[in-house]
């Protein structure tokens, strides 16, 4: 019984013995799975495979233990190539890094950019790849951090990017005066080809527009939201279905709240509302509101309009709705975190309602860099992340205690960061380099 279970390979001249049970971990949809399938006269004394033995050895260990250990004499890219040959690339990816936890992050890689400056946004893909919006081009990287064909929407200034799924990237771009281009489109991440261009209709007339901030509703909800500016003051939030590609709704801007210029959109499933934040310095006054698309109402909003501001005053520079849907977290130029309670009803009374944490005074010993970037916020699994200057702070627990700081020695301040595919990606301003942080796989014991 035991000997029948045994399988012998001669890989590039080196002998390997293993069991069909171990090989079964490769799955039927792999080269090794097919090799041992009964349709291909199995039961030979020895299978010859004309491939690199060192890589085979590593991959065989992966099948045996579920853990990936790459020997120093095996180049990583070569291993990936071999894994692709055997159909084991997904196994490798799954073993390369573990479940995301902001407090165990390690720097996995730093990838240099193409040109310095004006990085707009970085987004993590669901499979661990990422894309970087840089000027009028979006550079796409697979999870092995190999660059794919860059994509662009007619080389317009890209405003925002997002992943619909691992292979579909949606891009919003600015419209050039008099050209009727810009707008929003979906591209293939693998080939960079244009798949679909989203249209906006006003009064049944298709109109050209500038698309700004993006948000995707979620897993089972196929809606995409984007702030839109048309040329004839058609400002507001456009809503599309990414399955059908059709526009499904448009929320026209109410007077006193700018939606077409929004910095941040976020769909809140628990409230069935879209959070829209238009913030300093894009506008003089900050506005954060929840939009109910069903009856086109704004059930909640906050604004600091009506207060005369000094330069030193705390201004809200970025906002994110917390995952529990009870509050919105904001950040100011001093790296202070603040919270606005969503349950407290409308806080229209100018600028009040933000509960700033006092932590900042301890934190901010140094003066911000001369060429600093505006801070950004993100949440993941109950952890809150903020970037300021050249570091990212991780806050954990219900009290949002600072538990980790991620910093790398060069690259200048961080202009954007994103969490996706169990990885954190941080884009630096000066060198246009981006860092990839991930959590190691589970320890041996």
């Amino acid at each position: 019984m035991a000997s029948r279970d045994r399988v012998r390979f001669n890989v590039g001249g080196q002998l390997f013995e293993t069991t069909s049970t171990t090989l079964a971990n490769a799955g039927r949809e792999s080269m090794l799975g097919a090799l041992l399938d009964e349709s291909w006269n199995p039961g030979q004394p020895e299978y010859f495979i004309d491939r690199n033995p060192a890589c085979f050895s590593t991959l065989l260990d992966l099948l045996r233990t579920g853990a990936l250990h790459i020997p120093s004499n095996v180049p990583e890219k070569l291993l990936y190539r071999e894994a692709l040959y055997y159909g084991l690339l997904d196994h490798v990816r799954g073993a390369k890094w573990g479940p995301f936890d902001g407090n165990t992050l390690r720097l996995a890689d730093s990838v240099p950019g193409r040109a310095p400056g004006d990085g707009t946004a970085i987004r993590g893909a669901p499979d661990g790849g990422c894309c970087v919006a840089h000027g009028s081009v979006v550079h796409v990287y697979n999870w092995m951090l190999e660059e794919r064909r860059p994509i662009s929407l007619d080389y317009q200034q890209v405003n925002d990017v997002g992943y619909i799924d691992a292979n579909s990237i949606v891009i919003t771009a600015r419209e050039r005066l008099g050209k009727g281009d810009g707008g929003m489109a979906v591209f293939s991440a693998a080939t960079g080809e244009l798949r679909h261009r989203f249209r906006v209709e006003h009064g049944r007339q298709p109109k050209s527009f500038t698309a700004g901030a993006l948000s995707l509703a979620g897993l089972d909800d196929h809606r995409i939201f984007s702030s839109c500016k048309g040329r004839l003051n058609e400002y507001g939030i456009g809503v599309w279905d990414h399955n059908t590609g059709q526009q499904v709704d448009f929320f026209y801007e109410h007077p006193g709240c700018s939606l077409g210029d929004a910095d941040k959109l976020q769909w809140l499933p628990s409230k069935n509302c879209l959070m829209v934040a238009t913030l300093f310095p894009r506008t003089d006054n900050c506005f954060i509101g929840l939009l109910d698309l069903r009856d086109k109402s704004i059930p909640w909003c906050w604004s600091d309009a009506g207060i005369t501001m000094n330069l030193e005053d705390k201004r809200v520079l970025h906002a994110i709705a917390m995952e529990d849907g009870h509050s919105i977290c904001v950040i100011n130029q001093y790296d202070d975190l603040g919270f606005i309670d969503l349950r407290a009803g409308n806080t229209n009374s100018a600028g009040t309602g933000v509960r700033w944490s006092s932590r900042s005074k301890l934190m901010n010993q140094k003066v911000p860099y001369e060429e600093s970037c505006y801070p950004k916020l993100a949440t993941h699994n109950g952890q809150l992340f903020s970037c300021m200057n050249d570091s990212i702070s991780v806050f954990s627990g219900s009290e949002h205690v600072l538990t980790s700081t991620l910093r790398r020695s060069y690259g200048g301040s961080i202009c954007d960061f994103s969490i996706g595919g169990d990885r954190l990606f941080a884009l630096h301003n000066e060198e246009n380099v981006f860092d990839v942080w991930d959590s190691p796989p589970c320890p041996i014991i």
Binding site: E29, A34, W40, N41, Y47, D50, L78, Y85, G87, A190
Partner: protein, 741 residues
């Protein structure tokens, strides 16, 4: 091979410098691609020819990998399409040439082969599927194989129609009773589903549904001509189940709804009216004969089609109404009210059972049954009386020996009929009268049953409805106590005189008529006067009048040969008999003068004393059935009876005589007047101004729990209230009334 692997690692090294080296290498051997493809093409042939055992998977996989790696993906892919197409064309020829019944077998066989081959081809080309196919917008190998099969086999002109005909023919044969190879059918329909839902739908499902519809249209036509309703429904049900079973055996589960709706439409919806109205076997006959199975089948089948249940319900309702109408207007039947009400109850039970066993206790059917009963019970204005009489009968004797639960069941059933009544106040009148008689004569079977009935009426109609009935019970209790007290205090004075039992009835609680008391015999009168003195002595400010028409008496009589009997008689009868203590013969006029009993009552009383066989303690001359004013009465010395105690009833028609009925009606109408007026005033007090129609509507709504007021009467009451200046007509709009405070 060794050389190649070396050049590859070379390229790895060079990649760090520039990509040009890579290009260079590809051009090294221009025949390489052609040669590799030949190997793979040969392998595909061998796989299709079931010769795969000699092939080396590893070698083939590596060859395909190399072609893709060296940018020959296009060549590989197009070669695959061409090779597979060529094989499929060959397969098509061989399937086409299959004879008759072997056609499907052959197709199934080849399909299995193709699937196996496809799997192996996919194994070889796995790398192409992973890297070349997604980036060049090609169809993955497996899907490609299915598409080619669809285009070259299933949609081949010589196969497409033949396949469809064969499948439909097999279904048709199975429908007519043949046994077919279901496994084969399942494989073929599964193949069509694997090729995509649109293939299954277009090439099989749509024509299948069309053919089925016309088949069942014809069959239902044939059945309906020669079957009765019950057996038609059985056949329809069987067909429906057959189709459901067919789907579960060899069709797509999604087809079930479509085929069942086709069968439902053709076999049921199109023939509904004809089925329910079928002569001698339709719905009405099923209801009459309690055919629960057939009714249940009809219900479940009709439920599946639009308007099915309402069709059954409508026919049932009109049948029930007609049947009920005949029942309540049958004058013969009405002669015995107990029988009549029992008949209604039986009718209700019967249909309740039908609804619960056959109609799934459907609420809408229950409502239809209730509304039908409500409709026909009120067609007859004697219904309230009949129901009260039925209760009277039950509470007098019918429930003797019945357990508490059984009593409750009977009472609940009667209450159900009571709920259908519109003229509940008429019922109340009768019930009061009947209850009074039961209480005074001590004939009630069980106090608990009486009280339970009153509680039921109270919960149904409220406190007001039963307060007087409860008063009657209180009176009975008080009377008992009073009598005990009377005898305790006065026994010494009373001596040996006749024993008196008085029931003191509160005026108003009881249905008493102000009738003049008759002349009581002096012996009785003495006791009565003593009681009056006692009673008025203990209760000041009261008035006591004797209701001699309602009393009873036990008297002892000695007949010829010393026969002694105890006679149980009414007070009137007692008065008459006492006269014979001092005279042997008396004329009618003499009796009338001596007793002053009203003529009608006296006649009844004498009739029961002289004309009833076995109870004739008096002898009448001349002998006849009826009493005339010229008759002479004698003490019947020869009276004998085997009982010591003889109860002499009064000849009272259990039902009222015509004039009494008229009188009762009148009293009811009279009683309604103040109720209607009170309702009008209540409404006007809160609304101040209202038009005529709204008043009528609101009054009707307020009073409908007791009776249905007649709009003409309401109008009269309004006029009366205007006269008495409770209301006035609006000056401008004569239709409006105003309330005058």
């Amino acid at each position: 091979m060794n050389a190649q692997s070396q050049s590859q690692s070379q390229s790895q090294r060079r990649k760090n410098f520039k990509i040009e080296a890579f290009k260079h290498k590809v051009e090294l051997d221009p025949k390489y691609a052609e040669r590799t493809w030949k190997v793979l093409e040969h392998a595909i042939h061998e796989i299709y020819n079931n010769n795969a055992s000699r092939l080396s998977f590893e070698e083939l996989y590596r060859s395909a990998y190399n072609m893709v790696l060296h940018k020959y993906g296009d060549k590989l892919y197009s070669g695959l399409v061409a090779t597979m197409t060529a094989h499929l064309n060959k397969i098509a020829k061989s399937v086409e040439s299959a004879q008759g019944g072997l056609f499907l077998e052959k197709l199934n066989h080849k399909w299995a082969d193709h699937n196996k081959a496809l799997q192996m081809i996919r194994d070889i080309l796995m790398y192409m599927d992973r890297s070349y196919v997604p980036t060049s917008h090609k169809t993955p190998v497996h899907e490609l194989g299915l598409n080619l099969w669809r285009d070259h086999i299933i949609h081949s002109p010589n196969i497409q129609a033949r396949l469809q005909d064969t499948l439909l023919d097999l279904v048709q044969r199975e429908r007519t009773g043949d046994v077919i190879n279901r496994g084969l059918m399942r494989n073929i329909t599964k193949m069509l589903m694997d090729l995509g839902s649109s293939v299954y739908q277009d090439d099989f499902e749509k024509p299948f549904l069309d053919v089925s519809a016309s088949f069942y249209s014809g069959e239902s036509q044939q059945f309906i001509e020669c079957c009765d309703c019950g057996s038609y429904l059985k056949k329809a049900e069987r067909r429906l189940n057959e189709e459901i079973e067919r789907v579960s055996h060899y069709l797509d589960a999604k087809t079930e709804v479509k085929i069942t709706s086709a069968v439902e439409r053709e076999m049921i919806a199109n023939h509904m009216q004809r089925l329910v109205h079928m002569d001698n076997s339709g719905l009405v006959n099923m209801l009459i004969d309690d055919k629960y199975d057939d009714l249940s089948r009809m219900y479940s089948l009709f439920k599946r089609v639009p308007d099915g249940l309402s069709t059954i319900r409508d026919v049932m309702t009109s049948y029930l109404r007609e049947r009920g109408r005949v029942l309540v207007t049958d004058t013969e039947r009405l002669k015995d009210p107990v029988e009549f009400v029992q008949c209604l109850l039986n009718e209700k039970d019967k249909h309740d059972k039908i609804i619960s066993t056959a109609f799934n206790n459907d609420k809408t059917f229950q409502n239809a049954l209730n509304s039908s009963f409500e409709y026909f019970i009120n067609l007859n204005n004697r219904s309230p009386e009949s129901i009260s009489l039925y209760l009277d009968d039950k509470l007098r004797k019918g429930l003797k020996g019945a357990s508490e639960e059984e009593v409750e069941v009977v009472l609940d059933k009667v209450m159900m009929l009571f709920r259908y009544l519109q003229e509940k106040d008429v019922f109340e009148k009768y019930y009061k009268q009947h209850l009074a008689k039961r209480l005074l004569s001590g004939k009630t079977v069980s106090d608990d049953a009486e009280r339970s009935m009153i509680v039921k009426l109270k919960t149904e109609c409220g406190y007001q409805f039963t307060s007087k009935l409860e008063g009657m019970f209180t009176d009975m209790k008080t009377s008992e106590d009073t009598m005990l007290d009377f005898y305790a205090k006065q026994s010494a004075e009373l001596g040996d005189g006749p024993t008196l039992a008085v029931q003191i009835l509160t005026t108003g609680s009881w249905p008493t008529q102000p009738t003049a008391a008759c002349n009581l015999p002096p012996e009785i009168l003495t006791v009565c006067e003593k009681f009056r003195t006692y009673y008025l002595g203990t209760h000041s400010g009261r008035r006591l009048t004797w209701q001699t028409n309602m009393g009873t008496a036990d008297i002892k009589a000695t007949f010829g040969k010393g026969h002694k009997h105890e006679l149980n008689v009414s007070t009137y009868q007692m008065c008459v008999l006492m006269l014979f203590n001092s005279a042997d013969g008396l004329t009618y006029r003499e009796i009338e003068q001596a007793t002053e009993i009203p003529a009608l009552d006296l006649k009844r009383c004498l009739q029961s004393l002289a004309c009833v066989k076995g109870k004739n303690v008096l002898r009448k001359e001349p002998m006849s059935k009826d009493i005339s004013e010229e008759d002479v009465f004698y003490f019947n010395d020869k009276f004998t009876s085997k009982f010591v105690k003889v109860k002499i009833g009064t000849v009272v028609a259990q039902k009222e005589s015509e004039p009494e009925k008229q009188e009762m009606r009148q009293r009811v109408e009279e009683d309604r007047k103040p109720q209607i007026e009170a309702a009008i005033v209540r409404i006007m007090k809160s609304r101040r101004v209202l038009d005529h129609n709204s008043i009528v509507a609101e009054v009707t709504k307020q009073l409908q729990s007791r009776f249905l007021p007649n709009p003409v009467v309401i109008k009269k009451r309004i006029e009366s209230l205007i006269e008495r200046e409770f209301l006035e007509r609006d000056k401008a709009d004569r239709k409006l009334y105003r309330y005058l405070a």
